[in-house]
Amino acid sequence: MGVVLEVEGLKKFYGQFEALKGISFEVKEGEIFGLIGPNGAGKTTTLRIIATLLTMSEGKVKLLGYDLKENPEKFRENISYLPEEAGAYRNLTGLDYLRFMARFYNFSPEKTADFVERAIAIAGLGNRLKDKVGTYSKGMVRKLLLARALMTKPVLAILDEPTSGLDVINSLEVREIIKSYARQGLSVLLSSHNMLEVEYLSDRVALIDQGKILAVGTPQELKQRYDAPNLEVVFRRIVQ
């Protein structure tokens, strides 16, 4: 498996405050890589930098060999970002929203239709896609946004707390969607403070706290290394 994303010595300062203190990791092709840690650990900042939303203070980030500082547009063409608290345009119907977003990646009607068809299948919202987004429940909006993020089959899907605010049933559905897409060769970088969710989804995980990566490995490796039944206990032992 080739490396899709390389992150090396990533630092981020907000004034005097150092939010990221030299983070390094890589994501391989077809891999689900999870960043786990408590609130304020630096997960969202890391994802936002890779998604070209924030600028890095120091370090190197490469996607398919393209440097983030030099080619942010190449990043935008090849990634898809699902923010933790995201919304869709309330006055558009679900279908119109998907079409609008698809046109940024390919303007040919055939390709756009392909993207939208895929999104319809992922979202599983049926006829409700013809209704305005303003009438959707939180779970429906999240599924729509996840469908939007995956419909273009990006090289790297960046998902920040993908099941945030969802009930059990919706969370299970979203996790299944992510897993099935990764099986098709899609790389996923996701973050969550729900360590059990990340353990279930990820091929490899990085434990992050106070802007530093504390450990990286497969969930199995980490559990064995720290003699813990799950990642929550692994995290507690590392921090202690």
Binding site: Y14, G15, A19, G40, T44, T45, R48, A51, T52, L53, L54, T55, E73, R76, E77, I79, S80, Y81, L82, P83, E85, A86, G87, A88, Y89, R90, N91, L92, F100, M101, R103, F104, Y105, F107, L145, R148
Partner: protein
């Protein structure tokens, strides 16, 4: 380009929503309704000139006076009584608005050059504009009648002299000079006509600037409030294209809204002024003679000036929109921009910029939105230096603002800049 148009159409679609269409239609209907009512009232005041008359003199002079009133389209309703109270009662019963009482001895008074009192009674039944207009017209007619009576007196006493020459030994011929052109007219008539004709320009300008700015500031604030901005910023489209699409969409919808509002406003104003073309008479010819009409190139210059002012306002609103946390805070952030538009707007209506003191003038010229308010006058008086200065100044301000807006959109600031009064927040 296709990505840009994709975003532009989405922006326009988002801006033209049910609320906007409803508010535009509602305002137009209200303006149209008020305009129609006002116009009907005004017309009624002009046509229904029925007045009651109690002629207690029944002389040749009083008959002459009534004939004179009939000549100027007054419908006279005479009361065959000698009791004033009875005449008032009848006038009230017949729903008349005025009663004119000609005293006995009017003829004798004119013979002896004595002043006599004509009494007028106005039945005030409302405070409508029509009522006020009726009263004004009646006053003018009384003045005409007075003129007639004095002429009659003079003709009798001094038959060999023209009363007009005696009353007005000095007559004036008024000329107006604009640059090298001269025409016979009074300056006040020209100024009044130009004012009435161009009163819409600052209002249109004011409305377009405010509407467009409000559109763009709200569009950005709504992206933040609905949490759609982050997603938009990560799709493959340049940040400058996002800024440009938002500004252009807001500009177009703002322009459309302003024109719709102005159409309604012009219906409303017609209720007060009447159709300008109907009342202008020969003055339009004089205006042409003086070169005070806008040529095609003049209109083009005005359009360029207006366009640049809109662009400055949009760029400024884009920056303010980034500072807004949500839709509500965006409305308060619009206030400084509104103030910058309102200052030159009111000054252009109530004063001449050139008459202001130097420090105030510098301050006014520093506001980019002041220049289009001055453009029409500068074009008509051929002040090309001021026009070029204004256009160049707005262009420079626009370039600076748009670079600033694009830079903000290309950095973390688009997400981290938030203006909360007395508090600045950084989002991690």
């Amino acid at each position: 380009m296709k990505k840009f148009t994709n975003l532009l159409f989405k922006e326009i679609r988002e801006l033209i929503n049910k609320q906007l269409i409803f508010s535009l239609l509602f305002t137009m209907i209200i303006f149209y309704f008020i305009g129609q009512v006002t116009r009907t009232e005004a017309k009624r005041a002009e046509t229904a000139r029925r007045i009651g008359v109690l002629d207690l003199d029944k002389s040749a002079i009083s008959r002459g006076l009534l004939d004179n009133l009939r000549l100027v389209r007054f419908q006279i309703e005479e009361f065959e009584t000698i009791d004033k109270e009875e005449a008032l009662r009848q006038a009230r019963e017949k729903n008349l608005t005025f009663l004119l009482v000609i005293p006995s001895g009017l003829n004798e008074g004119v013979e002896k050059l004595e002043t006599k009192e004509i009494e007028t009674y106005s039945f005030l039944r409302s405070f409508s504009i029509g009522q006020a207009r009726y009263s004004d017209i009646f006053k003018i007619i009384l003045e005409t009648a007075n003129n007639y009576l004095s002429n009659e007196m003079l003709k009798k006493k001094l038959p060999e002299i023209s009363p007009e020459n005696l009353k007005k030994p000095l007559k004036s011929r008024d000329f107006v000079i604009v640059r090298d052109k001269k025409a016979e007219a009074s300056a006040s008539a020209i100024v009044g006509f130009m004012y009435a004709q161009s009163i819409f320009v600052p209002i249109v300008l004011f409305m377009i600037l405010i509407y467009s700015s409000q559109m763009v500031i709200s569009a950005i604030a709504l992206e933040k409030q609905n949490k759609t901005l982050e997603t938009l910023l990560t799709v493959p489209i340049s940040r400058s294209a996002i800024v440009a699409a938002k500004m252009l969409a807001a500009g177009l919808v703002g322009l459309l809204s302003a024109f719709i509002y102005m159409a309604g406003f012009s219906w409303y104003m017609k209720g007060f002024t009447g159709d300008l073309a109907e009342t202008a008479g020969g003055i339009t010819k004089i205006i042409k003679e003086l070169g005070l009409t806008m040529t095609t190139s003049g209109n083009l210059i005005l359009l360029i000036s207006l366009f640049l002012a809109i662009m400055c306002a949009l760029a400024m609103a884009t920056i303010l929109g980034v500072l807004a946390e949500d839709y509500r805070s965006a409305q308060s952030l619009l206030l400084p921009l509104m103030l910058l538009v309102m200052i030159p707007y009111f000054l252009s209506i109530f004063t001449d910029f050139k008459s202001l003191s130097l420090p105030v003038r510098i301050l006014i010229y520093a506001i980019p939105f002041s220049h289009p308010f001055m453009t029409t006058q500068n074009i008509l008086f051929h002040n090309y230096r001021a026009i070029v200065f204004g256009i160049l100044y707005m262009l420079i301000v626009f370039i600076i603002l748009v670079i600033l807006a694009a830079r903000i959109f290309s950095t973390d600031r688009v997400l981290t800049m938030k203006l909360r009064w007395r508090r600045r927040e950084v989002v991690l």
